[in-house]
């Protein structure tokens, strides 16, 4: 019983985390200019509003956008800014 409860709690936490990322990505996309066209390799070319739809649907394109966001956030966390500016030249 306890185990089941723990598993359920973990699921809730994971879901909440995914949902938070999704919300963050959508919020970021909403403020970019509507003139933006993003080409994502062989997946195609997307307008801002199409990107938002894909993220909300959580499909392959949406997941890729989330992954790009997460890689940047992780880089920020590990100090990419000071890394960039401490380089010579």
């Amino acid at each position: 019983m306890n185990n089941e409860k723990e598993i359920n709690e973990t699921k809730v936490i994971d879901f909440s985390s995914d949902e938070e990322i999704r919300r963050l990505v959508v919020a970021r996309l909403k403020v970019i200019s509507s003139d933006t066209i993003k080409c994502i390799g062989n997946e195609g070319t997307f307008s801002r509003d199409q990107l938002i739809e894909h993220v909300q649907l959580g499909d392959k394109i949406g997941k890729t956008i989330e992954q790009i966001e997460m890689e940047w956030l992780r880089a920020l966390k590990r100090g990419i800014i000071s890394e960039l500016y401490s380089e010579h030249g």
């Binding site: 933006t36 080409c39 390799g41 960039l84």
Partner: protein
Amino acid sequence: MALLVNYIVSMAKILITRPEHDPLTRCLSHWNTKVIKNAKSKGNEVIELYKDRANRKEFEGRIKKVDPSLVLLNGHGNEDSVLGHDNEILVKNGENEALLKNRITYAVACSSARALGVTCADKDTTFIGYDEYFVLNLDSHFLTHPLNDKRAERFLEPSNKIANSLIKGHTCKEASDSSKQEFRENIKMLLKNISGPDDLEDVKDLFWNMSHQVCLGNQEAKL
């Protein structure tokens, strides 16, 4: 006379595919004209497979006939293949990847470094490419004039740096490093002069492309 002989001997043969059937390929194709101009100005022989000539038959024929030392593949792709005009497969793992052996290849084709590049790369072969999607942000106002698109420039000048560095005589590792350095410089420039959310969006995507560019096989190879 000795100088002339040297000049002729050092001329490299470069094969470039330039499909143009959607915004990404059109933009890559236009920005590659800069590489072509540079290569020709240095006396290199450039063989272009433009639009519908970027097909498998032409590609295989030209590679065998010309035996280029540098192959620049612009187009879509996946883990196993690089595609040409209208997404026709030009080179595929397990079918004709041997065509890229004993050469330097730079493929701006998504994820092709993941399997195709790994298969091709060896002590005599270099494959520079991306192990994930190549992302390119454009300004819709410049779709018909890609060379005037400042957003595209942020992505494609660092990409062009690879071919231009190789043409200059640098090794593959140096070419890839200098491309990544240019990605870094563009990220720094954007962060320093950030003027809106579009700049931050480009920063993330430039960082992504930079992080997923790989140089496989012979790092010291040069033209």
